[in-house]
């Protein structure tokens, strides 16, 4: 039988990782419930929010109850982590993994990521460029957009290292994209600005946040749903503000 703290640690870590990596809050709650069922916990109550997690376990017949609050500070998107946590919780629920094994596996997931920066920059550049093509760009636009995407992915990770708030960095990203695209129109003939900017900002839009928000709201998690919708709206507005700021500065300089 696993000790109380190991069980609690494993359960908390699993749902904390899900919340930090862009999973839905209901998924975090479900993970806790399923893992607890598999580990033979008598009763569990859990409340997950985008910014934190509270849970109470009743472990045995003597009604020993234990609670914990976990704060979630950073929220980035890493679907691979969500997938791995899901897998572990499934195995714990089916009884083929003990709390200790789960904890070890989860710590491995949490551990420092092998940063594939070059891959991410390439992916960002390629997706920005292909979105531009998709939205009716021509080959010159493709190149400009490619550099926009690469530049954004080059700048964003250092900003989050410096603990710049995500909303501010999304404004910076919008402004940088626009600036790059505007320079593109100066440097290369035949560049149309519309598909370049709208393509390059596509990877920056909070698509996952919106869909998660809707899923949470429909399932009755009104607090998390509302918070996520707020987060998504704010991040779109900041992005738009970045674009607008740069467009008007540019217009002012050229006039």
């Amino acid at each position: 039988m696993d000790s109380i703290t190991t069980t609690l640690d494993a359960v908390c870590l699993a749902s904390q990782l899900i919340l930090e990596s862009g999973g839905e809050t209901y998924r975090a709650e479900e993970t806790v419930e399923r893992m607890c069922q598999g580990l033979g916990v008598k009763h569990v109550d859990v409340l997950a929010l985008p910014t934190g997690l509270m849970l109470t376990l009743t472990l045995d017949a003597e009604d020993n109850t234990i609670s914990r609050i976990v704060r979630v500070h950073t929220r980035s998107i890493d679907l691979n982590r969500v997938d791995k946590c899901n897998d572990i919780s499934r195995r714990v629920a089916s009884g083929s993994m003990s709390a200790e094994e789960a904890l070890r596996a989860l710590k491995e997931i949490k551990g420092p990521k092998k940063e594939k920066r070059l891959l991410l920059i390439a992916a960002s550049a390629l997706s920005a460029a292909s979105f531009t093509m998709m939205l009716g760009g021509v080959w010159v636009d493709f190149f400009v957009s490619f550099f926009c995407g690469a530049l954004v992915q080059l700048v964003l990770p250092p900003l989050s290292h410096l603990r710049v708030p995500p909303l501010i960095s999304s404004m910076i990203a919008g402004a940088l994209t626009t600036l790059m695209a505007l320079f593109g129109t100066l440097a290369l003939p035949g560049v149309t600005i519309e598909p370049v900017i709208s393509g390059a900002i596509m990877p920056l839009l909070p698509g996952l946040a919106v869909t998660n928000a809707m899923r949470d709201t429909i399932r009755g998690d009104l607090v998390s749903g509302g918070a996520r919708i707020m987060e998504a709206i704010l991040s779109v507005m900041m992005l738009a503000a970045g674009i607008g700021l740069m467009l008007s500065i540019w217009g002012g300089v050229r006039a």
Binding site: I77, V82, S130, F131, L135, G136, M202, M214, L247
Partner: protein, 146 residues
Amino acid sequence: MSWWVQLIACGVAAASFSVLMHQPWKTIPVTSLIGIAGYSVFLLLGSSTMGFFLASLLIGVLCEICARLMKRAATLFVTGAIIPLVPGIGLYNTMLYVVEGNYERAVSVGAATLLGICGIALAITMSSVIFTAFHPKRQKEAPHEE
């Protein structure tokens, strides 16, 4: 621009966006194909709110089916597949009109963009609700877990 360039670009964009979101490698080709399917419906229907809704509904349903088949969370597929539909061009145009001081057009383009986003969100939610409600496996398994 001819439609096949758009569709290929859509597939590449969805796939590379999935890489950016750290999606597991195995799921990326499927995501890309679902994205292409959804975007081709969108191109056929034209960029109306209904077009956004129906295309997203198709994406949502396909993603839920793939999630069941591959035993992974549906979110993994939806994130990458839905992104080509997100109206980035509407957002940019809205901002451009605001900067130009053309508020009438800004409001009309902004409202259309917002409706498109609502259509996408509604469709994704509907597909997810349908599949959770009629999930035969879970209903069978539930008594064993008690």
